[in-house]
């Protein structure tokens, strides 16, 4: 009998094991990490009827090839790579069943960055500090605390095939069906925003920022006309969390993402609405984003809409 596992033939540019994150250890300097696009992870797990805490693979920029060793239910969500199972084209935002020996191929996603590959029951690497997610800085979680390499055998839960098949194909979150030249990102103004000059504040909202190729799981780094930071105060080191928009001395804002370190000192101009943060994790280098001021009420309401969407998937009501 073969072990319960999937085999990484090619990991693509960057693939790793993720779950919702490692919480409760920021006080000792451990970041949350987790899926950069946690909504895609939530959708994939719900399509399969998995626990929300189940771990999956996050594959950046496609280019991956994965072999199944036994009958396995799996789902894809997030970046819409061209995908095939044993040569037959398959869709993102959908669940399939692979037969033993079947190969999943993911091409380069035409837009967006990260695809979630979830399996029934979840990826079954050991938990470290209450999470299976990979922390590349701490070198813990996932597969030996590192990104996946060719030849890796990734353990999966023994309950590979769910009895309850759930929805096979779901409507993606609305952002994915857009054809927009830029993504609007809701930001709740805060931090040191009002210490910036009026001109800098105005430019922050007006600028069409371009996502830099330097962006990674730690931060979405933006390019554009720099903001004047002269009014911004020197800050004592303080905790920072994903979503915070910092303005370093370069004047070019960056948005902290899941792997951000736990403390920082740059001035902040606000925090991205939690319902929008995943969009930055999915914005390809060169893509354009614009910040739009959002109230706390509007942000809370956007988050409730996502929760309702996820609940509807779990209830089988969002089938495409």
């Amino acid at each position: 009998m073969s072990a319960n596992e999937i085999v990484v033939i090619r990991p693509g540019p960057r693939a790793l094991v993720v779950d919702r994150g490692r919480f409760g250890y920021m006080g000792i300097g451990v970041s949350w990490c987790g899926a950069a696009d946690s909504l895609a992870l939530d959708v994939a797990n719900r399509i399969l009827g998995n626990d929300a805490a189940a771990a999956a693979l996050e594959i950046a920029f496609g280019g991956a090839s994965i072999r199944f060793t036994q009958r396995t239910r799996f789902a894809l969500a997030g970046a819409d790579c061209p995908a095939s199972l044993n040569g037959e084209s398959i869709s993102t935002w959908a669940a399939y069943e692979a037969s033993p020996g079947a190969t999943l191929e993911l091409g380069m996603p035409p837009r967006a960055v990260r695809t979630i590959l979830a399996v029934g029951g979840g990826i079954d690497v050991p938990t470290v500090m209450n999470s299976r997610t990979t922390d590349l800085a701490a070198r813990i979680g996932g597969l030996n605390g590192r990104v996946l390499e060719a030849g890796d055998r990734v353990p999966i839960a023994a309950t590979g095939v769910a009895q309850d098949a759930r929805a096979l194909l779901v409507e993606p979150p609305r952002w994915w069906t857009r054809d927009a030249q830029e993504t609007e990102i809701g930001v709740i103004p805060g931090g040191e925003l009002t210490s910036f000059s009026e001109e800098a504040q105005e430019r922050l909202w007006r600028t069409r920022w371009r996502v830099s190729p330097q962006s990674n799981r730690m931060a979405s780094v933006l390019e554009g006309e720099a903001l004047d930071t002269r009014g911004a105060p020197e800050l004592r080191s303080h905790a920072v969390v994903p979503g915070i928009v910092q303005v370093p001395p370069s004047g070019l804002p960056l948005v902290l993402l899941c792997d951000a370190q736990t403390t920082g000192g740059y001035p902040k101009i606000g925090v991205v609405a939690e319902a929008d943060l995943w969009k930055l994790a999915q914005a390809q280098p060169g893509a354009h984003v614009r910040f739009a001021a959002m109230t706390l009420d509007e942000a809370a309401s956007a988050l409730r809409a996502i929760e309702a969407y996820l609940a509807a998937i779990a209830a089988g009501a969002v089938q495409a």
């Binding site: 701490a138 004592r236 905790a239």
Partner: protein, 211 residues
């Protein structure tokens, strides 16, 4: 003063001059607030404290008032602190390639750099930057040196360095720009250990030269 930051965080800022007594109150408050219902993280910074809460389980306005009140009632009364933690350091050599630079910059011998660095008592203000990394207060001002112009791509865990007015120990391997003066074999971060971090805010740290 407590302020809201985004949907799920509130920040207490101890206004005024940076002080150890304010930091003692922050440590005590971080420990208490970490157990409040709905609080996911209580993270001390330099004279500030951030609480991250789950909006399903806690109401921001209530938490802000609770934190403000707890801060006003807190005191810097000396609490039972742990015994000082000694960190054995092999100064210089392969693990401390910048010792000569620091000595030259400070205008003293390498031996004097070591003596001064090992003579001081350091206070752990808070942890952050990397897992298990402690921000230490108490560096002899004569040992302050600028960071390296070109950061190193890979600094081994256990490296003891100086960057500006800070000294500390790299807890995990990472890139970094501090001047490295030595190395310790003590593990500052070990996920298999409870707690995973060797140091805790409020700890007193001493470096001990070993050969």
């Amino acid at each position: 003063m407590v302020s809201r930051l985004g949907q799920s965080a509130i920040v207490l800022d101890a206004e005024g001059e940076l002080s150890l007594s304010a930091q003692r109150r922050i440590w005590a408050l971080a420990r208490d607030a970490g157990a409040w219902p709905g609080v996911r993280e209580a993270v001390a910074g330099m004279n500030n404290l951030t609480l991250i809460f789950d909006a399903h389980d806690a109401d921001a306005q209530t938490l802000i008032l609770q934190l403000q009140e707890a801060w006003e009632q807190s005191s810097a009364a000396a609490e039972q602190s742990r015994a000082p933690i000694e960190i054995p350091v092999r100064y210089g050599g392969e693990g401390g390639p910048d010792l000569a630079f620091v000595a030259e910059h400070a205008g003293m011998s390498e031996r004097e750099v070591i003596e001064r660095h090992a003579a001081a008592e350091y206070v752990v203000y808070f942890l952050g930057f990397q897992p298990g990394f402690a921000y230490l207060g108490g560096l002899d001002s004569r040992l302050q040196v600028p960071r390296r112009a070109k950061p190193r791509a890979r600094i081994p865990a256990g490296s003891v360095g100086i960057g500006g007015e800070q000294t500390g120990v790299y807890a995990v391997q990472s890139p970094g720009g501090w001047q490295l003066i030595g190395h310790t074999t003590l593990e500052l971060f070990n996920p298999q250990r409870t707690p995973a971090a060797l140091l805790t805010p409020g700890d007193i740290v001493r470096f001990v030269a070993v050969s």
